[in-house]
Symmetry: C2
Subunit: 265 residues, 2 copies
């Protein structure tokens, strides 16, 4: 399932991802892939340690070639953000200073609102081992940080980019609970259909002496019906259950369906 | 910042992560790290291709040793889920059938509610290249799928586990917009403080003949004050700006502060 599919719309808009001093090409590639997964396309690198282009980046990008091909490289962070109207800095640790600190959902909503207003935004991600310097954070408008396990707080840059890209994608959805595909549509069966199944089952059981002692029969029927009414069964489900009842009712182990002598009613 | 920090609470509860037929130890390790980042700890493997234990898994886990040490290995998926009350299957593609399909936020809320009710839950993740088989999905109660770029939909298992772990963490937060640290607290300055700054600046500018032509002075002052009132300045910010005004006002390029002959008022 990797790679692009030309029959499906390729999402490629939204905030610019800016990696400051990234070290491993592989991480840059995984960042590109994460961006592509969630519809971002514009990647900028400030002083990548091992230079650019990078074979290991392209390989790790798993065919997110449109992101890799579009990478821009800058010597200075100031130049990498020069055309942007609004910039977030990601950081895992508290900084002295007065910059507002946001969680990822609030940050994504802000980026989406600014995008819709025609502004260009970016998100800064720091070096693999120690993040952004204070003077780099100072160039951003606001800080975004992730809710993490306090005792195990380190996210690698590809993971951090993945989470922001994912929140960006969600921020564009009218309904966050929407899914790209759904269960097969089922409407609840009519009651007549349901009661028909109850009758079928109860008759088959009654014929086998299931309801004993006799004075317990009403309670046993209540319990049985409760199993099948706890959630609304669809007509399809009732069809399946009636097939089961029929199979149990009509055939025996010794005379199964399709065998000579099997009782086909 | 990698690794655990014994002074901070180590979160380690919540759904079991179950990898079916994982191939690369490195992926298992990245899964363990993602789980640790967001407070999950219980990892189960069904038929890991390269066996267990795995040095490459431990290495890629970046010190999520508590997850790696607790890994349980099973021959059959049925056994891996036997003690669980509720199971999600992750899948990127539509399946025939009637299982409810959820997005990650709804799924995480469901998992959290069941966790609070004392139920044990799990989430199934499939093989690196082609996910879960239909008969494996059939063992789950519901399906969870991610909102992705339709033209670039493949998530690797570590990314998928990261997203579900992250949503699990968020589902436990009282306020999703809360952040682990905040900006330094600032209260708006008093108006007296603000007007003092206006006076300071305007006097310094007036002394330099800034307000010309004279009839434009009121409008120019309005514009100047608008710059500083658009958002409520804190006392700290006013202190900073007054320092700037003083520096510009008292010293010149030829006679800067601290030089012989510098005008110290």
């Amino acid at each position: 399932m990797a790679g692009t599919n030309s029959e499906r719309p390729l999402l490629a808009e939204g905030p610019v991802i800016i990696l400051v001093n990234p070290q491993l090409g592989e991480n840059i590639g995984m960042v590109a892939r994460a961006m592509a997964n969630f519809g971002l396309a514009e990647l900028r690198l400030v002083e990548p340690r091992d230079g650019w282009p990078s074979d290991s980046a392209r390989s790790a990008a798993s065919k997110a070639d449109h992101v890799i091909d579009g990478v821009q490289v800058f010597d200075r962070l100031e130049d990498a953000v020069a055309d942007l109207n609004f910039v977030y800095a990601t950081t895992a640790r508290s900084r002295d200073g007065f910059k507002p600190v946001r969680g990822p959902t609030v940050a994504a909503d802000t980026l989406r609102a600014r995008h819709r207003a025609g502004e260009r935004s970016g998100i800064l991600f720091g070096r693999e081992r120690w993040g952004l310097k204070n003077e780099e954070v100072a160039l951003a408008d606001e800080i975004v940080t992730f809710p993490v396990n306090p005792a195990f707080a380190s996210l690698n840059i590809a993971q951090a980019v993945l989470l922001m890209s994912y929140e960006w994608m969600k921020s564009g959805m009218e309904d966050e609970s929407a899914t790209p595909f759904q269960a097969v549509e089922q409407t609840p069966a009519t009651k007549e259909n349901l009661f028909g199944m109850f009758g079928h089952l109860e008759e088959a059981l009654d014929a086998r002496g299931y309801f004993r002692p006799a004075d317990k029969k009403p309670k046993m029927i209540d319990n049985l019906r409760a199993v099948f009414t706890r959630r609304a069964m669809s007509a399809q489900e009732i069809h399946v259950v009636r097939g089961v009842i029929s199979a149990l009712d009509r055939y025996t182990r010794k005379n199964p369906r399709g065998q000579d002598g099997g009782d086909e009613r």
